[in-house]
Symmetry: C2
Subunit: 342 residues, 2 copies
DNA sequence: GAAAATTGCGCAAACCTTTGCATGATTTAA
DNA sequence: TTAAATCATGCAAAGGTTTGCGCAATTTTC
């Protein structure tokens, strides 16, 4: 397998007895190049499978033709789906996608942003890590004029475009649904309140209760319930309560799964003794027994919208750009876990 | 928010009244630069948050410091985990990771490879699409001397490094386990046989039966059973058989889930009437009821090994490189779905 | 104390492309 | 027929780095 030296635009020029500028223009279908020359160049390029050097072109043009994406981790289903949405829009417009994972670590996030700052990307789509509490580390990016779009986990104070779902409404719908199905005492699994998404979900839970004339009982609002294990352990606690909730509106799905598994072991019936709604509509929700009702976030749309917003901004860099916020509507997928038989 | 023009190496040189070569060397800790100068340069660079232009450096050095990864889709848990393994090794060695998804389409795969060919990556780690039946489209890459490592879904005829698990052994272990648990008539959910992984899984199934003196019955080997829906539908068929299998060794998890859901509906008891083992150890396996026994593929190790192999090859480009194949050992995670009570 | 080695820095080429401007040839307009 | 417009191509700069080589100044060696 002999390694061929790569063909450059110069090789083509030399072989065809012309200049690199003509070759470059021919390849770009520049109108001032004769059809004959254009064909000749393209034919030669094809035959010697010429590929333009991305870096040289990018350097000269000042554009990398690449969108950066920064997410906590791609093996979370939600982010994988968002990424898919981004990829769909990006590849249609011939942008590459460069993915970085913060693994929910702020220091990694900071390094990654630094690393991306020059030449690699023309714009960034990001969802912040769970440790991130302000947007200082995004400033260098912004100062250098690299467009930024935040989605899902955002920094509200940062004056950039954002794509979010109406988390408050999502939780509100879930609670309303539980009430309509006869639940009288609805508890809540909350996430860290400094993150916009969890704050709004909790708010939606509270608003829904209030709007339906139900009281807010702090003792059945449980903080930091993001993992299956937490849900599992909490179920024991619920089991021992004198006046346990008959339903839980959770800010995520994993804690629900854990809680139901423990409920099963303890002989507590779901949904009749205690009903559940989750958040995110993880794939496992549908195959779990009982299937888990959950708020669908339309991650693919979220990715698509983010990419569109970013590309719009990238392609209008000269013009003064006003950041926009897109709020997507969630929907509630009702399954067995929230449907009391009584 | 004023957009600052970027700081370049030239700006630093001018400001410090020296030349770009000195600045460049100072930043790289070149031994021939005085400590004083080095400090001065670094201080200025820091203060003006200078970031080297990736493209210019890459162009000059002929290295992109980037590893390409080509997978069918990243929202499949297995690939997301592999990617994580790759990312761990890559980022430790300061490589970027550029991810492309073929969406299991051969034509997309071909285009993506073309697109990656120049300047974007120094090496590629790939798992082929389900449509891919030969490696012709990888040839241009190889001819240009870009190292390639294939993992999981590979092209055996291609003379490149590979990382796979012993799929045959995985299925063998599953069948052996079923036999030891009293299963007498074990069927098989197979995948497309032109893909190495499914071919070997089927082989392992057959070998295990033979080694235990059991006969091979083609009528309970079911082809193309990769999706939940397929499993769901097939359960009806099994239900109607005069002499149905009392166990299934499946080449993937989704069909198992589908089959069990339908079994539940039909009143067929799992595992007592029919036991199941899956393949891939998807996260849902653990929370499903009954929990699904499955072959664990150690995707993270697979990613790590692939990255190591690739980097080794990239960093020894001058030396004649002999492709290597790493075969990882799978393990069987035993859960309820395969443990008959009788 | 002279030759040799080392130190610290600068010059300029190279990596490959894109593109504003110039130029000579051909066609069009008047 | 001549000036003007158009066409097809070429020249050279620019984008930001890295690096081989050269050259003084300084230090080491014997």
């Amino acid at each position: 397998m002999s390694i061929r030296k790569r063909t450059t635009i110069q090789d083509i020029a030399k072989a065809l007895n012309t200049t690199i500028s003509t070759v470059s223009r021919a390849l770009q279908d520049h109108p001032r190049i004769s059809v004959a020359m254009r064909e000749k160049v393209k034919k030669y390029a094809e035959e010697h499978d010429y590929q333009p050097d991305f870096r040289a072109a990018s350097l000269r043009k000042g554009l990398a033709n690449t969108i950066g994406v920064l997410v906590p981790r791609i093996d979370i289903h939600f982010f994988a789906r968002v990424l898919r949405g981004i990829d769909e829009v990006a590849s249609e417009k011939n942008y590459n996608v460069l993915i970085s994972q913060s693994y929910d670590s702020l220091s990694k996030e900071i390094n990654l942003i630094k690393n991306l700052t020059y030449g690699k990307i023309d714009g960034l789509i990001a969802s912040i890590s769970i440790e991130t509490k302000n947007g200082n580390h995004f400033e260098p990016l912004l100062k250098k004029g690299i467009p930024l779009v935040l989605f899902d986990k955002i920094i509200e104070s940062l004056n950039v475009s954002k794509v979010i779902i109406d988390d408050r409404q999502g939780a509100y719908m879930a609670v309303k649904h539980l009430i309509e199905n006869g639940c009288k005492r609805i508890g809540h699994f909350a996430g860290p309140q400094y993150l916009n998404i969890y704050r709004y979900r909790t708010q939606g839970y509270i608003d829904a209760l209030k709007d339906h004339g139900m009281e807010i009982d702090e003792s059945i609002i449980f903080q930091n319930m993001l993992e299956q294990q937490k849900g599992y352990e909490l179920m024991d606690q619920l089991h021992k309560m004198e006046n346990p909730p008959d339903a839980i509106c959770s800010a995520n799905d994993f804690a629900v799964i854990g809680a139901i598994i423990r409920a099963r072991e303890l002989g507590i019936k779901v949904p009749d003794d205690i009903a559940f709604t989750g958040f995110a509509n993880e794939p496992m929700d549908a195959i779990f027994e009982p299937a888990v009702s959950s708020v669908e976030q339309s991650p693919i749309s979220m990715g698509q919208e983010s990419a569109r917003l970013l590309i719009e901004q990238m392609e209008n860099k000269n013009i003064e750009y006003k950041p926009r916020t897109i709020v997507l509507m969630p929907s509630l997928v009702v399954r067995k876990s929230s449907l009391k038989s009584g």
